[in-house]
């Protein structure tokens, strides 16, 4: 598929960035309607308690208060996954975490709303509180939800076994095993949740919300509000960062809508930052017990893993997370024998959900760490060991994932060659180290969340006499560049400049269905749908050109706003001439393109989890500098090669990869959600630190293009996959630097320090000595 593209592969600014640099973009809290009420929420102060009584009468009678609602006003349960609908707009019988919504108030202004919230009286009866997964594995006195496994707090169990794991372990020459402990992290997007619900004059209800998943919000609203789907409208505002943190339908969205319907006035609700931390949905904390088996030649024989993840109080995406912790370990290596047990356990803390690299990040840290341990035992270079085991392009994993394009080999070779790995690995002085790791991710979940034969992405195009092309799609632009992917696909196919295309992806009244921005599905699915739609238009224009020139339609090519014959360059009409002819006696050109994943995968239970029409691959090399006095770890340089099939927009792909390095390093080095008996103790950006410009290392981005046969122009995802290899590369570099294997993330300087102290005592026996650093 060697083609010379005009737009694809260039570096255009994101099409929506102009309104972002001018302040014109309208985010959640920027939505302004006349006569708007302000909503505030009453949140639970208890981690686990029965609600005996809620008295809203005093609040409702206060000046300026227009309505107060409680759980009784909308008891229907919802959730992003149909199989685990365990959320309510507001708690009905009991509260399950500190922050659970108990009541919602709409008032004339913020002060009145806040005063009314304070005036609501709730009487709780305390229930046994569960803050750890360990205490929830067996039957408990008061399960957090009624439908847990055998009266425990276990929400989901996954057990998979392929091949003969015990046999693999028996045959193994080396079989390192380690136990890892991961602390939870949050998305820390910069825009707090903020929504406006608007009762329309015709009795419909609109919700303006910065969401990654307008379609799932739409479904949940209809269910909770008990309104038909066509009476609900979801308008996605600009989204100030998502990373998975805006990919659930949320209780607060329900509350705003209930209040708007009740008062027949627009209702605006904006979280303060503490509420963002209070309600979380971030990456699951958890443990990972993993053993890997290699033969003496460094061939991987098997992987044995057990994950226990802490789901917090609600299911969210948790069923998927439980699977992903296992199934996304199936690449990028060929693993003939595989055993996995996963448990997701409810606790009385804020719910966890999907976060960039969903389900694959912590597991990958553990796996790439034990692979490094194996390399050391086998005395094989860690990159060489990985190269010996990578999956081949157009192959299959043991759990029957269909692998298509696969650039993992090139990723590894290029990070190796472009960082001077050979001269550094094992050769750096004490305190300095280099480490490598690989990653693997889905390029869009092949299975829709709801069983349906409606395509996963549809794009409509419309062109009128003005010549501009309007693309309608519900693809959720969240800063990752999905609107730009649509524009690029259309402009490329029709041979027009990018600014001919404008994308309308906000309004469910005009946008054809798209499942949203999760599972890194946008580029592959929306990109393909947009390309298909543009091909239909192109065909219409080619036939118009045929009518004008008498030359066969099939021979026309489109470039620089011209339609010209490939076989005879003198036969050409302008884009506008062709368009005018195509519109004659016909009216505006319209076309539709859609994408649906092909059928694939095995037939065993859980075979659908992790299936994707393509997978992305990556490899990362991190270099660290450890302060030998304090144990502080600094990442000094990072190189990351990512196979995204083809970079449709190189600027955006680089940006995604850099953002992944930043976020991955944050989790590895700094970030943690700290809880004390169910109460988060660092709910702000001073105590929950993300990396600033000085802590972010020099980042080298290497784009590998394996040209996927089914991807749009060969493209695959680049938004999540690159994050996954960042953390283990850092961990392996730390080990190389000081011989300390961090079995917990984030890396705590005090533990590194403790290790260094032991090292100092045992100084004589070390190959790297303190002398090397001049001490």
């Amino acid at each position: 598929m060697t083609q010379d593209f005009k737009v694809v592969g260039s570096r255009p600014p994101l099409v929506d960035s102009w309104k972002k640099v001018t302040g014109q973009a309208v985010y959640g809290d920027d939505v302004r309607f006349p006569n708007t009420l302000i909503c505030r929420l009453l949140r639970s102060t208890q981690p686990h308690a029965r609600i005996l009584r809620i008295d809203t009468s005093r609040a409702a009678a206060m000046p300026g208060v227009r309505a107060v609602v409680t759980g009784a006003d909308a008891p229907a349960r919802f959730g992003v996954l149909p199989i685990s609908q365990d959320e309510e707009a507001m708690a009905t019988d009991k509260v399950r975490y500190i922050g659970d919504i108990v009541a919602a108030v709409a008032a004339d202004d913020e002060a009145a709303a806040a005063a009314a919230v304070d005036a609501i009286e709730v009487v709780y009866e305390k229930l046994p509180e569960y803050f750890t997964t360990a205490e929830g594995l067996d039957p408990v006195e008061e399960p957090i939800h009624a439908w847990t496994v055998d009266g425990s707090n276990v929400q989901k169990r996954v057990d998979q076994h392929f091949g003969d794991m015990d046999g693999a372990l028996e045959q193994a020459a080396v079989k390192p095993r380690a136990f890892f402990d991961f602390i939870g992290v949050g998305h820390a997007f910069t825009e707090p949740h903020a929504v406006t619900a608007v009762p329309e004059a015709d009795g419909r209800l609109s919700l303006y919300t910065p969401t990654q998943v307008p379609h799932y919000v739409h479904r949940a609203l209809a269910k909770v509000l008990d309104m038909p789907l066509h009476r609900v409208r979801v308008f996605r505002t600009a989204v100030g960062g998502g990373f998975g943190g805006k990919s659930d339908p949320f209780p607060h969205e329900m509350c705003a809508c209930l209040l708007a319907r009740r008062t027949q006035q627009p209702v605006r609700l904006t979280f303060d930052l503490e509420e963002i931390f209070l309600t979380n949905r971030g990456r699951h904390p958890g443990t990972y017990d993993v053993q890997v088996a290699f033969d003496e030649h460094g061939r991987m024989l098997g992987l044995d893993a057990a994950a226990i993840i802490d789901g917090g109080a609600f299911a969210s995406f948790g069923v998927v997370t439980t699977y992903y912790n296992g199934v996304l370990s199936q690449g990028p290596y060929k693993i003939p024998n595989f055993r996995y047990s996963g448990r997701r356990v409810y606790t009385n803390k804020a719910p966890c959900g999907a976060m960039r690299g969903h389900g694959a990040v912590n597991a990958r840290y553990a796996i790439e760490s034990v692979i490094d341990m194996a390399a050391e035992e086998l005395r094989i270079d860690p990159i060489e060991l990985r190269l010996r085991n990578v999956l081949e392009p157009y192959s299959k994993t043991t759990n029957e994932f269909r692998i298509t394009s696969n650039g993992i080999r090139e990723c590894l070779e290029r990070v190796r060659d472009e960082t001077g790995w050979q001269g550094k690995k094992g050769k750096l002085p004490l305190g300095k180290g280099i480490g490598v790791a690989c990653g693997f991710f889905i390029s869009g979940s092949a299975l829709p969340i709801h069983k349906t034969r409606t395509p996963q992405s549809t794009v409509h195009l419309q062109i009128d006499i003005y010549g501009g092309i309007t693309a309608h799609s519900q693809g959720a632009e969240i800063g990752q560049g999905s609107d730009t992917v649509i524009a690029i696909a259309v402009a490329e196919v029709l041979g027009v400049p990018l600014d001919f295309v404008r994308v309308r992806s906000e309004d469910s009244d005009t946008a054809p269905l798209d499942l949203g921005a999760y599972s890194s599905r946008g580029c592959f699915m929306i990109g393909n749908a947009a390309r298909e739609a543009a091909l239909v238009i192109r065909d219409k224009l080619a036939r118009a050109a045929e009518r004008l020139t008498g030359h066969a339609a099939g021979d026309f090519d489109f470039r620089d706003a011209e339609v010209f014959a490939r076989s005879d360059a003198s036969v050409r009409v302008s884009y506008f001439e062709a368009l005018t002819e195509a519109l004659a006696d016909n009216g505006a050109l319209i076309a539709k393109g859609w994408y649906q994943s092909p059928r694939m995968g095995g037939t065993f239970k859980g075979a659908g989890a992790g299936l994707a029409p393509a997978y992305s691959f990556s490899a990362c090399i991190a270099e660290v500098d450890v302060d030998l006095e304090t144990g502080l770890v600094k990442c000094t340089a990072m190189a990351l090669a990512h196979d995204c099939g083809r970079a449709l927009n190189r600027l955006a792909v680089e940006g995604q990869i850099e953002g992944c390095m930043h976020m991955g390093l944050g989790q590895a080095l700094l970030e943690e959600m700290r809880y004390d008996r169910g109460r988060i103790t660092n709910p702000n950006l001073l105590d929950y630190k993300i990396l600033g410009p000085f802590e972010t290392p020099d980042m080298k981005v290497i784009i590998v293009e394996s040209e996927d046969k089914e991807g749009p122009f060969g493209g695959k995802e680049a938004g999540e996959g690159p994050l996954i290899c960042v953390l283990p590369a850092l961990g392996n570099a730390l080990y190389d630097a000081v011989g300390y294997r961090s079995r917990q993330l984030p890396v705590r300087p005090e533990r590194v320090f403790e290790h260094l102290r032991k090292l100092r005592r045992a100084e004589a026996g070390m190959s790297k000595t303190w002398g090397a650093t001049g001490r």
Partner: protein, 190 residues
């Protein structure tokens, strides 16, 4: 609580806004003036999303009271473009990929504009220093630094940029300790 009518001079226009004593500049700009381009991320002085310029100096709109800046010269993201073109900093943020979700962008752009008025050729480290009070969760900062560099080059080539403000700034400007003290990196090492 009763409100006071203040006149805010924003982007060379006078706005009469009724504010309570505790209302922040960010709130007054957004709700009082209808200038929602200034963003509020944390409302706690940690993210820099709310950065605007007061007398040419970057301040946090969420930590500045509307009452304290009455009569001062306020600049927001909405006031940068002019003469039928974007400000070079705005253009560079788009062209270099310095803006993804864009929520942090107005704050970064204002901070960068202030930097480039006082330092026309900043090094990458000086740029990082200047933006250290702004957090971005999307970009990893590299392309933001690229953008500021590109804008600096463009401004140098254009040979000027509003030197009157530069001079006002250099000659002292405000003595307000809070305004001067904002350059605390939000991510000071633990």
């Amino acid at each position: 609580m009763s409100k006071t009518l203040v006149t805010l001079h924003v982007n060379e226009r006078a706005y009469e806004v009724a504010v309570r004593p505790q209302d922040t500049l960010a709130l007054a700009l957004r709700d009082g003036c209808g200038l929602t381009g200034t963003k509020v991320g944390c409302d706690l002085g940690t993210c820099g999303c709310c950065t605007v310029l007061v007398d040419g100096r970057p301040v946090l709109g969420c930590l500045t009271l509307a009452l304290e800046v009455e009569g001062r010269r306020i600049e927001t993201i909405e006031g940068l473009a002019g003469a039928e073109r974007l400000h070079p900093v705005q253009k560079a943020f788009a062209e270099c990929g310095g803006s993804q979700c864009g929520y942090c962008t107005p704050g970064f752009v204002m901070t960068s504009v202030a930097l480039l008025r006082t330092n026309g050729a900043p090094s990458r480290d000086e740029i990082k220093e200047a933006i250290a009070g702004n957090l971005c969760r999307c970009t990893g900062y590299a392309k933001i630094v690229d953008a500021v560099e590109q804008a600096a080059t463009e401004l140098r080539q254009a040979g000027n940029e509003a030197s009157p403000t530069t001079d006002a700034h250099r000659s002292g400007g405000s003595n307000d300790a809070r305004l001067q003290g904002r350059r605390q990196p939000a991510t000071a090492r633990r």
